[in-house]
Amino acid sequence: MFQNIGEMFLLFGKSLKALPLAWRHRRKILEQLFEIGNASLLMACVLSLFIGGVLALQTGPVLVERGLSSFIGGIVGLSMCKELGPVMMSILIAGRIGSAMAAEIGSMQVYQEIDALRTMNINPVHYLVLPRLVAICVALPLLVVFSILVGWSGGALVSVLNQEIGISFQSYFGNLREVVEVRDVFDGLFKSFGFALIVGVVGCHQGLNTIGGPRGIGRSVTKSVVNSIVLILIMDYVITRLLMVFDY
């Protein structure tokens, strides 16, 4: 396990060092961005809508019962931007994109495509890892912004349409604006950036370390998803704690 973590840090370091080459690989970065957006946008929309809705549904009746119905907007707003948006989107991306990265790079490793790159003096980190890492670090925070907005809307719809809650849009969004600050959204984006690095580095690392045939590729995909989710949840706590220490 420690060897894997060390290798992942090393891969991250190499990618960071190669960052000035990102402009040269802009076409591949754009392709990856399209891949991530295209593969995830609809799913992100559905997921976020229902997360926002469930949040309102769970908290709404309890708050109404205590005469605190005007706080629903704030609760959904804060939960979505500080926690659920970044974490759920990152888990979704780990499942859809991290696994695809592990599978694609893993199959290239198994079928000697990466060896072929090396013989042509093409660094696989520059050619394969850097574009993916840059793309996911741009795409995931954007998806999280989208997720937050859709999640807020889902919460608003349930708060207005559910008879047990039944508050107005003005009341919901008024409280949301009162409670949620821009820095809360930035906290969520900061988290999502960290999670994007985790998903990208874990997916690419697993791919590059694939051994064996199709079974090896399957193993890499599974490990990439599981390891990403575990690391996301651990890092979620660490980043939250750090943000609390430094900001509040």
Binding site: R24, Q112, E113, D115, A116, T119, M120
Partner: protein
């Protein structure tokens, strides 16, 4: 493609090369020397360590012991592909499936920004024509047969304008006609640009057909090195067994 002067072959020297995987020795102290422009074939049964040897020569693997030199420069511990233009034709072709045939062939030139897009397009067309696959630029590797993939891999190797080409089982999984075509291309290429070629194969026809010298490798050891004629007339039992192996069946006719 450059002339003889532009792409002179390199000398390859392998000395005391040893490699083990999980305690199992795969290369047991190999020593040989390949002259510039020579076609040197390493022939031996499957699993004798031939492909591992090639990976060491191009720097994809590190040996436990021993040295490899290209024109006197050590391969180990250096990025030898920075100094010499080398190419390897992999057993599977090693084509990037996400790219078109043309992009695969021009990959070295485009990634190292050695030529303009128009020039790359021209060079790609030229190399593909050279291997008999003109107008296939826009196809993807999955649309090609095994033989075509190997020829595209050869075209990709040519685009590097290599000083050394390594061929890993170039005729494996090919029908006899395609195998002959590939063998002829290896030979013609060597005649045209005098590139040093190291071919590993278990195909006896290919080895004796194209080689200047043949090394017989069995279980990680080179048993004998010589010209095809010398190998054919060797008295070494293990070598004779390998080069003369044939079916020994007592077949009875089943036709009515």
């Amino acid at each position: 493609m450059g002339s003889n002067q532009e792409t002179p072959g390199v000398r390859v020297t392998v000395s005391g090369l040893r490699k083990s995987y999980d305690g199992h020795p795969v290369l047991k102290g190999l020593d040989f020397d390949v002259a510039p422009g020579e076609i040197f074939v390493v022939m031996g049964p499957s699993g004798s360590g031939k492909s591992v040897l090639l990976k060491h020569i191009i720097g994809l693997e590190l040996p436990d012991e021993g040295e490899i030199f290209v024109n006197g420069d050590p391969v180990i511990g250096t990025q030898i592909t920075d100094k010499y233009r080398m190419a390897m034709v992999f057993q599977s072709g090693g084509l990037l499936n996400s790219l078109t045939v043309g992009e695969n062939v021009g990959l070295y030139l485009s990634e190292h920004q050695l030529e303009s897009a128009e020039a790359i397009e021209r060079i790609v067309a030229e190399k593909l024509k050279l291997v008999g696959l003109a107008n296939l630029q826009h196809h993807v590797p999955s649309e090609l047969s095994g033989g075509m993939k190997k020829r595209v891999a050869l075209a990709r190797a040519l685009a590097v304008e290599p000083q050394l080409i390594l061929y890993d089982e170039p005729t494996a999984e090919l029908d006899p006609l395609n195998a002959i075509t590939i063998g002829e291309e290896i030979y013609n290429l060597n005649q045209r640009i005098h590139v040093t070629s190291i071919v590993v194969t278990h195909d006896r026809d290919l080895a004796f057909g194209v080689a200047d010298r043949v090394a017989i490798m069995v279980e990680g050891e080179i048993l004998v090195v010589g010209t095809p004629e010398e190998i054919r007339s060797t008295s070494n039992t293990a070598v004779r067994e390998f080069i003369t192996a044939d079916f020994n069946l007592n077949k009875t006719s089943k036709t009515p």
